[in-house]
Homo-oligomer: 245 residues x 2
């Protein structure tokens, strides 16, 4: 059997997330229907991880096994005509038997976008957090530095997670500015349920001056549900890249 | 009766255009429902002009008369909570009785965006023409210069128009480049049905080397339907600004 890896980009706005659900309308449903068609047999995919409803991907990775003999370059070409315009296949590659999109992943990078300009914006409402307030980047970066290293992130894991361990290693966590957009980049060996959006919400409180860096550090060392927080809006989150060996 | 002018921005993707239609789902329907609610009486709006299904606006202007006494700043505030996220009110202003969004307009500026990078793009598919080919900007600008002045644009008016005269005065028509995006800005005292999208389609043929500037000039002097052309995709077009006295 062939083992194929696809790199995928999608706008999450019109979907209920990556993973199949009883109510349908997921990225997985669309991809499996497409791949079943091009492979001539039922295809089930594995993704590097779930993304929630409304979350986007610039470089999601999926893998699947098939007896179908469509060449990889043809998958790309057919995808352009068969997939909806908000889902794209960026690359297709034959992999060794043992490769698995989720279990072989070594690290993942997410980007979160926050717009600081006030007022509604029909062109950005589903693509960033329309915060509309100025942020203190220096303070946010001071707090973000505390995330680096191997730590228990249980405080930033929403309930509903099925992770056994809540320990993750963060390699990079940094805010930068591009005009009115504040951009958060975080690279880690894995992420807990809602972890990036919960972190962004708390770090924005620091950036707004509603919370000190010391208070954020305390949160980081709290048990699950020790403090109240709503995850930052889904539309600001982008799965940028999944790294393998 | 009060006469109120609103400046509006919208993402056209999810609508059947500006003007009300029997099948619904237009920007006008949404705005009239909203204004009827805030004014406490049935409101009918006039727009500076129609935009087709999928066409966007950065600065559409509408006007309406009402006996309702809601202050203009409150319209803006209420709009943020009552309008869908893809339609925004940018400003609201009390006008003299004789002001009319359409009949008082002196000129309008449209922008058209063309992406030259190849491949699908889930984040741009409804916001530009995903052309995916390089364009010769110098040639396109040479052709675009031929549009300047008062001319009969009947050759670039799609059938279905209700305009009496097909003569318009173009003040500016210029291509510029921003990374992989080619941007066309056109300012005129008015536009015919599909005029910008038909012009862009023909000018892109020049940019691709499929048509010479001399051939474009011949097209410009043709009678209606003298040459075949499909309008450039709706999603690339933005009504940028409407100018009054």
């Amino acid at each position: 059997m062939r083992n194929i890896k696809l790199e995928i980009a999608y706008l999450g706005t019109n979907y209920r997330g990556m993973q199949s659900q009883p109510c349908g309308s997921t990225i997985q449903d669309v991809l499996e229907e497409f791949l079943t068609q091009v492979c001539g047999e039922k295809v089930r995919i594995s993704a590097s991880g779930r993304t929630d409803a409304g979350v986007h991907a610039l470089g999601q990775v999926i893998s699947f096994k098939t007896n179908g003999n469509i060449p990889c370059p043809n998958i790309l070409r057919v995808a352009e005509s068969l997939l909806p315009a908000d889902i794209a296949v960026l690359s297709a590659k034959e992999m060794p038997e043992e490769f698995h999109a989720r279990f072989s992943a070594k690290s993942k990078e997410y980007t979160y976008k926050i717009n600081t300009l006030s007022g509604p914006n029909p062109f950005l409402y589903d693509r960033c957090w329309l915060l509309g307030e100025k942020l203190n980047l220096a303070k946010m970066n001071e707090a973000a530095k505390l995330l680096i290293g191997e730590k228990d992130f249980v405080a930033f894991c929403s309930t509903g997670s099925d992770s056994i361990s809540t320990i993750r290693r963060v390699y990079k966590a940094e805010f930068s500015q591009d005009g009115d957009m504040v951009i958060f980049d975080i690279l880690a060996n894995g992420f807990l349920y809602h972890m990036v959006r919960n972190l962004v919400w708390s770090l924005v409180q620091v950036g707004l001056g509603k919370r000190t860096v010391a208070e954020f550090q305390k949160e980081l060392n709290s048990p699950r549900n020790a403090f109240l927080s709503s995850p930052a809006p889904a539309g600001g989150l982008y799965l940028r890249q999944v790294n393998y060996e």
